[in-house]
Structures are given as structure tokens and as C-alpha cells.
């Protein structure tokens, strides 16, 4: 099949894959940090929406792009704090509260959107992040355009992933966060606050999820649409499992996933796409996520205290 080779050998395909992976990397790292500390965050989908909205509306109101990213991160941390307070000290169901946070963050974004722009039929556009080509490196065939001719937020996504791995595995703080998700009683016995560590991890993680959402408006689409996050948050939860709660593997998972996503878009243009209904291609990312979950389920090393509330009084 000639066309498949043509696609796989084109620089634009790999550039697209890396671009599609970027928001997933931010949000997957965010969820990974939460879960490493022992907290499932199903607020991810809504937190990505509020990040996409708040970052975009900030830039639309006249602020700079990086200020938009900062506002997105803060709004994500705010909803993260709400989630953390309800599920950590109060120990409420992480499933129920997480879904509640998703609904709250999503509806808050839509409410604010209609409040600020009551009349518009199509959302105004902003000037998004421009591509920043790394001198020399971006001229490497195939790899150059894919990795070194991207927007600054894509570079930031990879930096965040490296930083997550570094902090979680190479610093005392990271050790404490991971221990809070594996053996909270031991953390407590060390005189550290499990509650504090978990709340902090959920806030930082939620901030990253929101930046992942902001990538969509500030780097990819330059506008805010309803339902633009479209299940990406849920896919990131699958990616955390697929990556066995390891940042490096999760980034690889995100890249693999994004490559398939970029591929299905391009396959729609080929002779195959004329025969097969386009909905089948669009289903592929979701079906792929389910397949990944099944494949990895046997080997997954779930943090031992994931979803287990810690109450000092109960020891």
C-alpha cells in the first residue's frame, strides 16, 4: 500500500503526531502525579476544559500568551484544590467527586463564555503561539520538523515530563509523594503530612491538566469551542495506566497514540477512506485506548494506596 508509506515518510505526519501528543503529555503527567500520590482525579476532563477556556479568554482580553498559560494553570489548581479537599481530608468517593468536578469545571467555562460573549455565533480567534524552529536541529530530515519545529508549549510539554520524572524519582519530595500513594502510614510515621502531600500533588497535577487544555486554544486551534476537549481527559487516564504510572512510558504512550490519531486523519484522505466510513477512523483513538488498557492490565503496577483515603484516627 503505497499511500501508507507516503504518510509514514512525510515530515508533516510526524510533526502532527508530536503536536497532537503535546496536550496529552501535559494532562497525562498531571494525572500521573495525582495518582502517584494516591488520588484518582476524574476531574481531568473538566479541568482541561477550564484550562482551554480561561487561557484563551485571558489572551482574548489582551494579555500575553504566557499569561494565558499562567491563568489556565491557576484555574486548574483551583479546581484541583476543591477536588483534593473533598477527597483527601474528607475521604469522599474519588469517582463521584471527580465526575462532579468535571461537570462543575465544564459548566463554569460554558457559563462564563456565554456571560462574556453573549451574542457571538462563532468564537473570536486569538493569535496563537508561533512555531519556534530550533536552529540547525530543525533541518534534520524527518526528525527535525517533528521535534524541533514546534510551538514553545510543545517543548514545554517534554520539559514538564522530564521534570516530573526527575522530581518524583530523584528528590526527597518526590519520594514522599510516591510514598503517600504507596504506604501513607509510613509517610505519617516519618512525621510528614499525607494530607498536605496529596493536596499539593493534586493541585500541581490539576495545574498541568489545565495547561494541556490551554494548549488546545493557545497553540492548536486559536479559538475556544464547546466540547473541544472531547474525551482527551479520559484518554489521558488510560495513558497513565498504559504507561504503568511511569512518566517516560506514558510519554511514549502519548506519542504512539498521537501517531495513530494523525494516521487515521490522513487515512481518511486515501482510497481506503473512500470505502470505510469516517466514523470508524474517529473511533480508533477510543478503541485503541481500551485495547491499551486490556494489554497492560496484567502488568500494571498500580500505586498500592490509590483511591484509599488516609485518616490518622483509624490507625
Amino acid at each position: 500500500m503505497m499511500s501508507l508509506f507516503d504518510i509514514l515518510l512525510s515530515a508533516t505526519f510526524w510533526a502532527a503526531a508530536v503536536r497532537i501528543a503535546s496536550p496529552l503529555i501535559f494532562a497525562t503527567m498531571g494525572e500521573l502525579i495525582c495518582e502517584r500520590a494516591g488520588v484518582l482525579n476524574l476531574g481531568i476532563e473538566g479541568i482541561m476544559v477550564i484550562g482551554a477556556f480561561s487561557g484563551w479568554i485571558t489572551v482574548w482580553a489582551g494579555a500575553g500568551l504566557w499569561e494565558g498559560v499562567a491563568v489556565a494553570m491557576l484555574s486548574g489548581m483551583l479546581f484541583g484544590l476543591l477536588h483534593a479537599v473533598l477527597v483527601v481530608p474528607f475521604g469522599l468517593s474519588q469517582h463521584v467527586v471527580g465526575l462532579g468536578i468535571t461537570l462543575l469545571a465544564t459548566s463554569t467555562s460554558y457559563f462564563a463564555y456565554r456571560l462574556i460573549l453573549p451574542e457571538v455565533t462563532s468564537p473570536p480567534r486569538i493569535e496563537p503561539f508561533a512555531v519556534w524552529e530550533v536552529p540547525l536541529l530543525s533541518e534534520i530530515p524527518l526528525l527535525g520538523p517533528a521535534l524541533f519545529a514546534q510551538t514553545p508549549l510543545t517543548y514545554a510539554a517534554f520539559a514538564v515530563a522530564a521534570l516530573t520524572a526527575l522530581v518524583l524519582w530523584r528528590t526527597p519530595l518526590g519520594l514522599a509523594v510516591r510514598a503517600a500513594g504507596e504506604n501513607p502510614s509510613a509517610v505519617d510515621a516519618q512525621g510528614l503530612s499525607v494530607t498536605g502531600l496529596r493536596i499539593g500533588a493534586v493541585m500541581v497535577g490539576s495545574g498541568l491538566m489545565a495547561v494541556g487544555g490551554a494548549f488546545l486554544t493557545l497553540s492548536a486551534f486559536s479559538s475556544f469551542f464547546f466540547e473541544m476537549v472531547n474525551g482527551r481527559g479520559w484518554i489521558c487516564i488510560a495513558l497513565v495506566v498504559f504507561g504503568a504510572w511511569r512518566p517516560g512510558k506514558a510519554v511514549l504512550g502519548a506519542l504512539l497514540f498521537a501517531a495513530f490519531d494523525a494516521l487515521q486523519v490522513r487515512l481518511q484522505q486515501t482510497p481506503v477512506g473512500q470505502v470505510v466510513p469516517y466514523q470508524l477512523f474517529l473511533m480508533a483513538p477510543y478503541a485503541l485506548s481500551i485495547a491499551a488498557l486490556v494489554l497492560m492490565s496484567r502488568r500494571a503496577e498500580v500505586p498500592a494506596a490509590l483511591m484509599q483515603p488516609f485518616n490518622r484516627g483509624e490507625r
Binding site: 473533598l86 487516564i237 495506566v241 488498557l293
Partner: protein, 347 residues
């Protein structure tokens, strides 16, 4: 801070805390109205009036509550056994597809409606069976799989409506052919816009209550939900209980699709459900997973939606205030219910 169990919660605690949660939600609503530049009291009044202020409004609320009772029951049954079915949306559409397949001429006769309902239930049950088998056989978390199935199902419906199920007389719109007249659920009272789907929903609520409280399966479902490991130790076949729970839950959610298509719309479109499957989670939680309480909870949630729609047209406060209120009421309510049994102490 830490939590300390309250031995015998007083009646004041049991009634006062949920009431406080409701008041807190109303306070948030007032705040949101004020932010939107509207008079808070007038806004709340318009929501109530829009929900129950006239015969037309009240019937609209009952109609809107009908699918929510079904999805609320689906979620309540599943969550009771700690089966996290977040895929009621997909199961709803599975029911709707089967309803259209059978109701547009494939079968006829006096038994067509019960046949459609049963087939729809079977379809919804099968859709939930997939994630549950993945859970029991491979240990795959059903939260993510049921969520992802929602997206797959919606795309499948989109394919059907542009392909095999497309209405040839539909002027190119992606909608199915209309149901045959005998395949439509009749109205309960002539002239009043309320169909038998609502009565079916009430019957379903009672039936689920009976199953949960009066049968061995219900006992086993509750035992699995309380502590799966202990239940297994006590000899309860946990996996088979989960599968039975899934069949029931998926079937109930599918009835929402059946009732919307056969009772209200008469055909299938991509916007058949504005998230009834997800809203069912709120309904079930507000009902504390009690099947009978699902009915008033669904009426409340439907009232908020219908009322907010009508208020939005009159007062200009965005209609998304409804979703915000439901999300806050959910969070306040789960907190209130926890605080009935636990008090916060320092240290």
C-alpha cells in the same frame, strides 16, 4: 484535622445537613445570578416558575424527568454494587438504535411495544457487558472503558444515521425514519403531552427497589458493594453478581433510549440525549442510590434544567447555570451525607 465517627446521628443532624447542602446550592445560584447582572431572587423565582409554574411547564418537567429516572436507576443499581457504570449514555443509545430498528416496520402487531422494550434492554445490557467482562476477566477499570464506550457509541450512531438508518425522506438530515404509529408509546391522558414512558419509569423504580431489597440477588449486590473481598469470602459469586448487576443497569439505561424514541421524539437523531447518561449519575447520588428516591431526585434535576431554560430566555442568565447548580448540589450533598456520620475534629 481528622474525622471521628458519630455513634448515633441525631434527627437534627440527619435532616439539617442535607437541608444545609440545599441552602448552600441556593446561595451559589443567587451568587451566579448576581454575577450575571440579574436579580438573584427574581432569577430563582423564574427557575421555579419555569419548572412547575404552569401545566405546560410541569408536563415538560415530567417529560424531562422520564429518561433521567431510567438512567438514574441504572447508575444507582450499578453504584450500589460498586460497579462504576459511567456509560449509561452509550447504553441509552443502544436502546434507541434497537427501538428504531424494530419500530420502523421490521415487526408489527399488538406486541410490538413490549418487544421493542425488551430488545432495547438486551442491547443496553450487552453494551455494558463488554466493560464488565474486561473488569472481571482482566481487571480493567470500568470507569475509563465505559466512558470511552460513550464516544464510540456516539460515532456509531452518527455512522448509522448517515448510512444504513438514514431516513430517505429526511431531506439529507442525519435522522432515522420515523417509527410506525403502532410502535409509538401513547399518551397517558389524551391531549396532555405526557407519554407512557413516564409510567414505565415509575414501575421500573418500584421493580428495582423490590429487586434490591426483597431478593437474594439484591442482597448479594449490596454485599458486593459493601466489601467485595468479604463477600467473596462469604461464598458470594462476586463476578457473576457483577455481571447480573451490569445486565440490569445496562437494560435500565437502554429503556431511557426506548422511551425517548418511542414516547417523545418518534425517531433517532444524534442529539437524542443531552447527556442524560451523565446526569443520571447526579440523580443517583442525590437519591443516595435508593431506587425509590431516584424519582424525586430526577424530578428535581429535570426541574432545574427546564426552569433554567425558561429563566434564561426571560432574564438572560446563561442556561449553563443549571449544570453548575447540579454539580454544586452534588458536591455539597455528598459532603453533607458524610458529615451526618462523621464529625471533624482537630489533631
Amino acid at each position: 484535622m481528622r474525622l471521628e465517627p458519630v455513634a448515633n446521628p441525631s434527627a437534627l443532624r440527619r435532616a439539617g445537613l442535607p437541608a444545609a447542602a440545599l441552602l448552600a446550592t441556593i446561595a451559589v445560584a443567587s451568587g451566579l445570578a448576581a454575577v450575571a447582572g440579574a436579580d438573584p431572587l427574581a432569577t430563582l423565582g423564574l427557575i421555579v416558575k419555569g419548572a412547575v409554574g404552569s401545566k405546560f411547564a410541569a408536563l415538560e418537567t415530567l417529560n424531562r424527568a422520564t429518561p433521567l429516572i431510567f438512567t438514574g436507576l441504572a447508575v444507582a443499581v450499578a453504584f450500589r454494587a460498586r460497579l462504576w457504570n459511567i456509560g449509561a449514555e452509550a447504553q441509552l443509545y443502544a436502546g434507541a438504535i434497537v427501538t428504531v430498528l424494530l419500530g420502523t416496520g421490521a415487526v408489527g402487531g399488538p406486541l410490538v411495544l413490549p418487544l421493542m422494550a425488551l430488545a432495547a434492554m438486551a442491547a443496553g445490557a450487552v453494551v455494558l457487558l463488554g466493560p464488565v467482562v474486561l473488569k472481571t476477566r482482566f481487571g480493567v477499570d470500568e470507569v475509563v472503558t465505559t466512558l470511552l464506550f460513550n464516544f464510540i457509541m456516539l460515532l456509531f450512531v452518527s455512522y448509522l444515521l448517515e448510512g444504513p438508518l438514514k431516513d430517505p425522506m429526511g431531506m439529507g438530515w442525519p435522522k432515522s425514519a420515523p417509527l410506525a404509529k403502532e410502535a409509538r408509546l401513547p399518551r397517558i391522558v389524551d391531549g396532555l403531552r405526557l407519554h407512557w414512558g413516564f409510567a414505565l419509569a415509575l414501575i421500573a423504580a418500584v421493580a428495582v427497589w423490590v429487586i434490591e431489597r426483597r431478593t437474594a440477588l439484591g442482597y448479594e449486590m449490596r454485599a458486593v458493594g459493601l466489601n467485595a473481598r468479604a463477600a467473596r469470602f462469604a461464598g458470594i459469586p462476586v463476578d457473576s453478581v457483577l455481571v447480573k448487576t451490569a445486565l440490569l443497569s445496562g437494560g435500565l439505561a437502554a429503556l431511557a433510549g426506548f422511551s425517548e424514541v418511542a414516547g417523545l421524539k418518534g425517531h433517532l437523531t444524534l442529539d437524542l440525549s443531552p447527556g442524560f447518561g451523565y446526569t443520571g449519575i447526579i440523580v443517583a447520588m442525590l437519591a443516595l442510590l435508593n431506587p425509590l428516591a431516584v424519582v424525586p431526585a430526577a424530578l428535581f434535576v429535570a426541574g432545574v434544567f427546564v426552569g433554567a431554560d425558561s429563566m434564561s430566555r426571560a432574564a438572560g442568565v446563561p442556561t449553563y447555570i443549571a449544570d453548575m447548580l447540579l454539580a454544586t448540589s452534588l458536591l455539597f450533598m455528598v459532603l453533607a451525607i458524610l458529615l451526618i456520620r462523621f464529625r471533624v475534629v482537630r489533631g
